[in-house]
Each structure stands twice: as C-alpha cells, then as structure tokens.
Subunit: 334 residues, 2 copies
Amino acid sequence: MAVTMNDVARAAGVSLKTVSNVLNDYEFIRPSTKQRVHDAIAELGYEANLTARSLRSGKTRMLGLVLSDLSAPYYAELASRLMTVASRRGYRVLVEQSGGAADNELTALQGPFRQLTDGLLFTPLAMDADAVAARRGSKPVVLLGEHILDPRFDVVTMKNEEAAEAVTAHLLAGGRRRIAVMGAHAEESAGSPGLRLKGYRKALDEAGIVFDPALVAPCGWRRDGGASAVAGLLDSGVPFDAVFGLNDTLALGAMHELLIRGVSVPQDVAVAGFDDIAEARFASPSLTTVSPGMDEIAERSVGLLIDRIEGLKPEDDGVHVEAGFVLTVRESAP
Amino acid sequence: MAVTMNDVARAAGVSLKTVSNVLNDYEFIRPSTKQRVHDAIAELGYEANLTARSLRSGKTRMLGLVLSDLSAPYYAELASRLMTVASRRGYRVLVEQSGGAADNELTALQGPFRQLTDGLLFTPLAMDADAVAARRGSKPVVLLGEHILDPRFDVVTMKNEEAAEAVTAHLLAGGRRRIAVMGAHAEESAGSPGLRLKGYRKALDEAGIVFDPALVAPCGWRRDGGASAVAGLLDSGVPFDAVFGLNDTLALGAMHELLIRGVSVPQDVAVAGFDDIAEARFASPSLTTVSPGMDEIAERSVGLLIDRIEGLKPEDDGVHVEAGFVLTVRESAP
DNA sequence: CTGAAAGCGCTTACAG
DNA sequence: CTGAAAGCGCTTACAG
C-alpha cells in the first residue's frame, strides 16, 4: 500500500506525532529532528493522505463555488480567476452549477456539497436573502455578485447601479434619447437586473428624460435572449436609438440581430453591455461596456472567505465589498 | 456534533453494519429492518460523512479535469457539460488549470490532485504520450481532445484531421485559393494543431493546390493571437483570400482585425474556425466553423472513465472514441 | 521539544 | 440476513 506517516516515523526513528508536527510546521522542533523526518519523507516518497487529514481535522481545503452555468463567459472567467487566487493560498475550488434554479441552489447550500468544502462562494440567483440566511449552515459563506445590503452576510459585489448609470449617461452624452434596456422587467427591483435598471433610470432622471417602460425588454441573460428581445422590439415598431444590454452576452446577441436586420451599429443604434468579457473587445464592432472589477472581486472574495475559514477575521457583522468599475468605450457606442 | 451512523443504529435498534448495508443498497435486508433504518435516518436528519466514507473506501466520487484555462470558451463549455454528465452518475468534477505548462500538467498528474479524484480527464497540451504513460499512476485516466493513437490510453477525441479537411474543402469550393492557416507552424505535426494542419494540407492536395508555408501563421489559440497573426500577414503583403483559424477564438480575433483594417468578410477574405463555441453563431458576420461533437465527447469520456473506475470495463487495451463532426456554414464563409 | 493513546465516521472482511 | 471487531491514516488533546 501507500507509504504512511507511520512508515516515516519508523524510518526517522521518531514518533508519529513528531512527523505530524514537522508536516504542520509546528515551531518547536529540533532542527536535527526535522531534518531526519524530511530525509525519511524524501527517501520513502511519502505523501500525506488528504482524506485522512480531512476526516480528523474537519477541513478539506476546498472552497465551494455555486453559480448558474460555467459555460456563461462571465462565470467562466470569474471561476478561472477564483481558482487561481484560491490556489495561491493552498485551496482548491469545487464548482456546482445551479442553472439559476432555487432547488439546486438550496441543494448546494444544504446538501453534501457543503461537507466537501470549508466555505462557500455563492451567487444566489433564485433564493432571496432571508432564504439564504435560514439555510446558510455553520460554515462561512460569501455572497458574490449580488448586492444584498444585509448585515447578516459577507458580500463581494460590483457597483451595479453606479456602473449602469455610467453606461446610460455615456449613451445619453452621445446624443441617444431612446435607450432600450434588455434583460429586465420594467418593474424589476431585485438582484443585479433590478440594480442595473435602477442605475439606468437614475441616469435618465439626471438628464430629464422620462422613463418609457416600452423600452424595457425582459429576456434571459444570454445571446439568444438578447437577439429575441431586440427582434421583438423591432417588430413592435417602438423606436429606439440605443440598446443597453444588462450583460455582455445578451448585448452581443442583440447587436447580432440588429446587424442581420440591416440596422447599423452604432450609426442607427448604439449598443452597450455590462461585464467586459474577453469577447467584447474583439466583437465587430467592438462592444462598449463596463468592467466591473473582476480581479478585485476574485481577490477580495477568496481572501475574505479564507480569512473567515481560518478564523483570521473576527466574527463581526458581514463585510461588504464593492469593487470599482471602469467604463470601457469602444466602437459600438463611441 | 453531527449525527453519525452510530446514532442511527441505536435509534433503529440495529448494528452499525446494518445501517451501512441499507445506505449502500445491499440486497438482502429484511424490508422491515430497512424501513426502521430509513425512519431513524429521517428522524435524526442523518447525512453520511463523505470524508469518512472516502477514507475507508478509497473512493472520492470525484473526477479530475485537467485543462489549460477554464476561461477559454471551448473549455468552459466542455467543463460545464462534463459536470452535468458526471453528476447524473453521482460524480463531481474537480478542475485543475494547467495553463498548458508541462510542469503544471505533471503536478496535476502526480500530485495531491490525484488523491482527491477517482480518475482523470486529461487534456495533455505540453506532455507527450510517453511522458504521460510514465506518470499516469494507477487510477484510470482518459485523454481528452488529443489524438494520441496509442493503445496504452483511453482517448476520447474529435476528428481533427477530417474536420479540418472539410473546412478547407468548403473554402476551396467557395473559390478561395490562398487560404491562410492561423495557429500552427508550417511543420507542426503533433497534437490538435498538427492534425488540423494535416487536414488542411490534405484538402489542398485533393484540389491540386500547392501548399505555401508563407500562409501558415503560428499564434496562440486565443483572440489576440489570431488578431496579431492576421495583422502580421497583412503587413507582410502575402496575398490571401481566406483565413482558417485552428480554433474559433483565434478565428474571431482574426476576423476582428480584418474588419478593423477595412478588409470585408467574406467578400475580400472568408473566415472559418473550429469548435463552434456559442459565440460563433452570434458573431458578425457569424462564423463558419465545425462542431466537433462536444456533447458526444462529454458523454463518452465521462462514461468511459466511470466505467473504468467502477470496474465495469475490462482492463483491456485503450478504448479510442472519435466523436462525429458537423460542418456549420455561416456568413463568414458561405 | 517529543511520545503514547484516542478517535474522526465510515466500510470491510469475517463470522454466524 | 445481521453483528462485533478491526482499521483506513491522519490530528488532537493530554502528558511529560
């Protein structure tokens, strides 16, 4: 079988505990002892059994990441960064796809997934704050991307409202007056869609433009959603001179549909998105959008979660982090 | 503390072993006993401790997935599907990003990552077949996406050569004669780049067109790689009337650069890619590409790996699966 | 600084 | 069909 700590202890002529101490960087070990243990480890090719360690210590050194769909570019890019940051602190990331469904989110929050992980990075799309609070369990949870202003939670998010306002203000500054919004209901108030819509309305107010609900098109936050939504708007005959997609993929879907129908971008209709996924810069025309500080979100959320896990952060009220954003102007809305 | 099997056994008035038998669907248990155990489990809210189970059984019910970068659209889409398929058979997927670097691939193959997983889905980008064979360890490994025709390995891949040939033949059929290839060296023979280049050359041969190494531009398989490569080609003055990007992201980067420079697609230069990522359909113009059967790859690779893990497949020679492909013609190369 | 013992919560042979 | 015991390989108190 595999080499165990016992084998190492025997080879080094010390007790099991001493080997464990060496492996766990316990301070007070005689250098010569330490050396003998390290020699034995090298000689035998010993590797610690992580499962046994987990069983005894109750820690897995894995972080759970719950998101709707890893194939969505924003989540793929975020997951990749989170993994990189976590690995620098010696943690792995285990991903669970919820599909944005409440029952899957609940399972991820309460089921065996929690056992496998020391803490959770959770993007709640279907569950609300109270539901999460009631089922959060005892291990640390950091909410991601949602702006739940709730002292019960650690939240790392982006400036949804301010960034959406900046995008809208930019479109207005470019002379657009009929800005269609895709990806929300006209009365939406919760979650990212609600906050971004609020930013949009705020910019309109600032400019003294009356909000027109006919310009708000609900749709899924994916390419096909944006394409259908813009098609519906064109077919309905509602005039518009700009499209603000509440995320980049749907903005790109909308732009595709516009171009197919012979609407030129940005001459006839300007298009802007939200997220600055890698694709935005290389779209044709390239997409004006907002970079919501993904690196900062990754860095801060993983850092905060691990600090909680390791007890480095006092268990006070929830910490709220809002990453900075940058408006990135490109060809689709100069 | 948490409820254990012991608590359940006591509550149900049976031994530990009987509870274990019930949990593991052992056949010969009296229905009444089974019922009592299930009642006790429900009453106490018992959940099996997965770590303890792993330590004793030596199985984690996790599959490892090693790929270069989860933020690359092809890998993101693949990972998402692999997770979905695995979860249907009761397995989770733990992802490790290698960045395409040999040392990271080696670590993933030999390090603690292997302990955490019962088997590996491995995309070798830097390591060759012999290196992998020498370090594969004792647990099952299924190679993904690479066409290593080696009986030592289970391999699930795509028809790299045939698909690339089909793309090239399509461009030729459209009247293109100077087809630039991006993403390989002119003498490349290994891995996906080599095979796709081979397919390209084969199609040229069929059409009686002489291979021109000046049309082959090496570059990274990302958007910026494709953009730089096409820029280099344009600057060099080498004439070409089509671009075949060896994957979609680089083809899209190339297309972006062409359009920026006022080269119209497909009128002046046709563009085709490889992978059919979600973005290809919504690009402007939409991208002609080849769908390499990702669903089939996900289904077959996970199925094969789990069969190996569970001993359902005799340990004979490596199984080789080549998923079917579909040429998807769109606006960029009609 | 180091040791001997206990135990994390399961599954695995081995009995009966 | 079910039970009592052993043990997977570590870490954790507890001693000294």
